[in-house]
Symmetry: C2
Subunit: 155 residues, 2 copies
């Protein structure tokens, strides 16, 4: 059920771009994202390049180059990012809406596991479609306000 490291890095990189997003053409260097998030730089390059072909980010080459979100943070969901990096959100492909593949079981229509996996897919998709990069940035800003570990504030 785990996200791949690739997928996790992608989300963390997008969180940085979302947090620093401005309407002008300002970009953030790979180096900077890499340092802020402890992500291996060369690996991050590949991931950002993927997200570029996916239309999530755009890049500027050369000396003052870097990456920025191609659309507003409100218009990019976590689901979109993960689908481009990892493929289906569904735990098994036979319940995927966007990447359906027949599974090896004898009769999908009578597979009880498939029924449960559909429920699971729905809850996963629900969360990932509902959360945009803008939400992420808002939350990040809120968390930055807290001076200490949030556990200390739980009543």
């Amino acid at each position: 059920m785990k996200l791949s490291v690739r997928g996790e890095y992608a989300l963390r990189a997008m969180q940085v771009l979302a947090r620093d997003f401005q309407e002008d053409d300002s970009v953030v260097r790979i180096q900077e994202i890499s340092e802020k998030q402890n992500i291996p730089k060369r690996f991050l390059e590949q991931i950002l390049n993927d997200l570029k072909s996916a239309g999530v980010v755009q890049s500027k080459r050369g000396v003052a180059g870097g990456y920025r979100l191609k659309r507003k943070p409100e218009q990019i969901t976590l689901a979109e990012i993960i689908r481009h990096i990892e493929g289906p959100l569904a735990p098994v492909s036979c319940v995927s809406e966007k990447y359906y593949e027949k599974c090896s079981c004898p009769d999908e229509s009578r597979c009880a596991i498939r029924a449960v996996m559909k429920e699971l897919r729905d809850s996963i998709v629900q969360v990932m479609e509902a959360t945009t990069l803008a939400d992420l940035a808002d939350r990040a800003r809120a968390l930055e306000q807290q001076p200490l570990n949030p556990h200390d504030f739980m009543i």
Copy 2:
């Protein structure tokens, strides 16, 4: 976010054992599970062996040998099975209750992604903890009643 093939096979095998479960000492042969579910036999052996050390099934060797659930189907959840086969249910280890691991991000307590992943973990755990092998067997029986593909019955 995908289940490994191993995990999927484990669930499908347990579905068979749950469906055929009886209070006596009857066992089901690997061969039979393998045929019913189109799972490579030799691979299934390894998976069932894992589930044996996990205390989910028990085995009987020799001519009339095979596998059976070690406990009643009501007492085995999908969460237990997947945790033993795959490890954490959480999409990233830094939000796992049972298998927590520090992640590489600079400050977990201020990571917005982590907050979202926690929500996701909760919905996943909710479904997997709530579903027992008895539920699966009930659903399987109900689906067997339906003569045709359930899509045909949706209004």
